[in-house]
Amino acid sequence: MAERMALTGNEAVAYAMMQINPDVVAAYPITPQTALMQKFADFVADGEVDTQFVLVESEHSAMSAVVGAAAAGARAMTATAANGLALMWEILYIAASTRLPIVMPVVNRALSAPINILCDHSDTMGARDSGWIQLFSENAQEAYDNTIQAVRIAEHRDVLTPVMVTLDGFIISHGLEVVEVLDKEAVQDFVGEYEPAYTLLDPEHPITFGPIDFSDYYMEHKRSQVDGIEAARRVIPEVGREFGKRFGRSYGMIEEHGTDGAEALLVALGSTAGSAKAVVDDMRERGLPVGLVKIRAFRPFPYEELREALGKAKAVAVMDRSISFGAQAGPLALEVRSALYGLSLPVRDYIYGLGGRNITLEEIEDILQEALEMAKTKEAEPLVKYVSVRE
């Protein structure tokens, strides 16, 4: 039977990994992911997993090792954060375009400089075009649930695309929460026996991974890669529904909270969505027509779901925990506006929480109050605001 345990987000994800029992895990420590791998290393040392645990000398090597393992037909995982993800860059693209179903928790943290080890989403936002599926988690429970579901999503024959499961550094990774941990057998049954679509270790069917492509085929291979991540639009909710049926917590591409009849809607990712739910509930009690749309899947981006959910409102405020330098807004707001193309809905971006800057319930309420104002005036200028920045 499922058991309720007090776990940090890092520990919850390490539990999920232990219960998945991957064939190969290669890892290099980086704050705030270190405690995750440390916990997983405990499971390895205690004989709780059969995993080949490979300690490497850098994240570039960690991703390279899991790419090699996945090509050999192993269920392979790693985890990282921030600068570690940045060091994996080259291999991230190789993993995705070689269609290797690797699962990687990423503990979101700011990128240097200045050096900062605290939470923001710059790391995974930078990787948004690497071809990986990206699932964001609101809390430790979701980080645990997402890690388990990610295996099924990545390995689905129509998808065969690696998945990043994100959890906010420190806020989720180091915060202690009550997490419902499933039975190992139930998790094993849910993820199933891994049967790789292709493997290097099949001498009867020798194949080549990673050959060279010239201009005559490169575009065709990229186009075919699109089909994989696009199939995830169908598979992510399918797996989320099945997870819900078995374990009581269903998941989709987005989650709506108080959107019925809302005039002003907030769009947020990660732990901030949890805070925003409390603010929305409080404002709703005071009769204010506000709601929240939480994005769970950032890649593939839920354009249709968002258009439907936001299209009913009169104004949208987006909360971006990273900057897309030189762009008209943060990465999330750019996508939201793109999803709403053709609808005349004012959308303003609020860039907040960089490098671990706290976001308070009052600040989220201020944003929603401004969104209510936007709903009246229909005026989104300024298109971008920076929350709590001193001038």
């Binding site: 269609r99 292709y198 194949i207 990673g210 050959p211 492509d213 005559d216 075919s224």
Partner: protein
């Protein structure tokens, strides 16, 4: 070779090569700007050209040089360089 190019739906995923030994279907001969020309009268059939050719494009029968496979010879000129009898010359396509 454009008539043989496959559409993206026909390709194995991930750029994988799933049929072994299919290099023969890739006609590297289209890359050539110079072609090796064999002068049989000078040839002593030492087969240096055959040993050195990086594309197995030197054709040999019964231990004797017989010419080139121009479908795959990419015109690198190594054979002409290595031939001890100047029995191969490189000529512009």
């Amino acid at each position: 070779m454009s008539e043989e190019l496959k559409g993206y739906r026909e390709l194995p995923i991930g750029g994988l090569i799933v049929e072994p030994g299919n290099a023969v279907t890739y006609r590297t001969g289209t890359w050539r700007t110079f072609r090796p020309v064999w002068h049989e009268d000078k040839c002593i059939h030492c087969l240096f050209c055959w040993v050195y050719c990086p594309d197995a494009a030197v054709q040999v029968k019964d231990g004797k040089m017989t010419g080139f496979d121009y479908e795959h010879c990419k015109g690198c000129g190594i054979c002409a360089h290595e031939c001890p009898r100047d029995a191969i010359t490189m000529e512009k396509e």
